[in-house]
């Protein structure tokens, strides 16, 4: 099950759901907001999520993980909105018969979630400015383009 949440991720409740008498291994990954990225001090973070497609793609990732590393239970919740340092931005939990499937499925899910979902991250820096992660190149292209074309048509 994949969900987008506008509020704090309810980790205790998620953990309660991850119970299966056949599960010998349970692996969790939490992505948290850290105070630094590529040498810049980060003060808070904002996630924009296009929920209809993010949920569809998230469910697809969980199914792919199930095919590759058969598990008993898997959940993934991704935050949207404004987050502070230390907040949980994404939570992945996998319960499987053995630890190898649990680790591998969990890793597969987070790796794919990070690159495939329509989710964008804006970092707010200590200096007061901000930037969209992975979009700086686009932005610089824009700036050149605006310089050349005036106010962008």
């Amino acid at each position: 099950m994949f969900e987008i949440s506008e509020n704090d991720i309810a980790i205790d409740a998620l953990r309660e759901q991850m119970k299966d008498p056949g599960a010998g291994g349970y692996c969790v990954f939490e992505g948290r907001v850290r105070n630094e990225n590529e040498g810049r001090m980060v003060e808070r973070l904002e996630y924009e999520v296009y929920e209809p497609l993010a949920v569809k793609e998230g469910e697809r990732v969980l199914e792919e993980a199930q095919q590759r590393f058969p598990y008993l239970l898997a959940f993934c919740v991704h935050r949207s909105g404004l987050l502070e340092i230390g907040d949980c931005a994404v939570w992945v939990g996998v319960a499987a018969a053995h630890r190898d499937e649990a680790f591998q499925a969990c890793r597969y899910i987070i790796d794919e979630i990070k690159v495939r979902l329509p989710v964008w991250k804006k970092e707010h820096y200590a200096g007061g400015d901000s930037g969209w992660v992975n979009c700086e190149r686009c932005a610089s292209v824009l700036r050149q383009s605006k310089d050349q074309n005036g106010k962008g048509s």
């Binding site: 992505g31 924009e48 296009y50 209809p52 497609l53 569809k56 793609e57 991704h78 931005a89 994404v90 987070i110 979630i113 990070k114 690159v115 495939r116 979902l117 329509p118 989710v119 964008w120 991250k121 804006k122 969209w132 992660v133 992975n134 979009c135 190149r137 686009c138 932005a139 292209v141 824009l142 383009s145 605006k146 074309n149 962008g152 048509s153």
Partner: protein, 80 residues
């Protein structure tokens, strides 16, 4: 001419100054839509890490667009 609704996300939305707009465009593919709106979304590298969806389904840049379609333009993603 086709009536196409274009939706912008994240940095594209900030550059466009609008969430979405409906335009009359002489276009065949999703790529054509991206190029026609380049001045708004501010990117010149569609084949890079940007993505596109048509009517809430992920699509290819070569996918065809029809009259009345909604085209979603996604700048490089950064989940997790």
């Amino acid at each position: 001419m086709k009536t196409i609704t274009v939706r912008y996300f994240a940095i594209f939305r900030e550059h466009a100054g609008v969430d979405e707009e409906t335009l009359s465009l002489d276009v065949t593919s999703a790529m054509d839509v991206f190029e026609r709106t380049r001045a708004r979304h501010g990117s010149s590298e569609p084949t890079g890490h940007c993505k596109v969806a048509i009517n809430d389904e992920m699509a290819e840049w070569s996918s065809g667009v029809n009259d009345g379609d909604t085209v979603l333009l996604f700048p490089p993603v950064a989940g997790g």
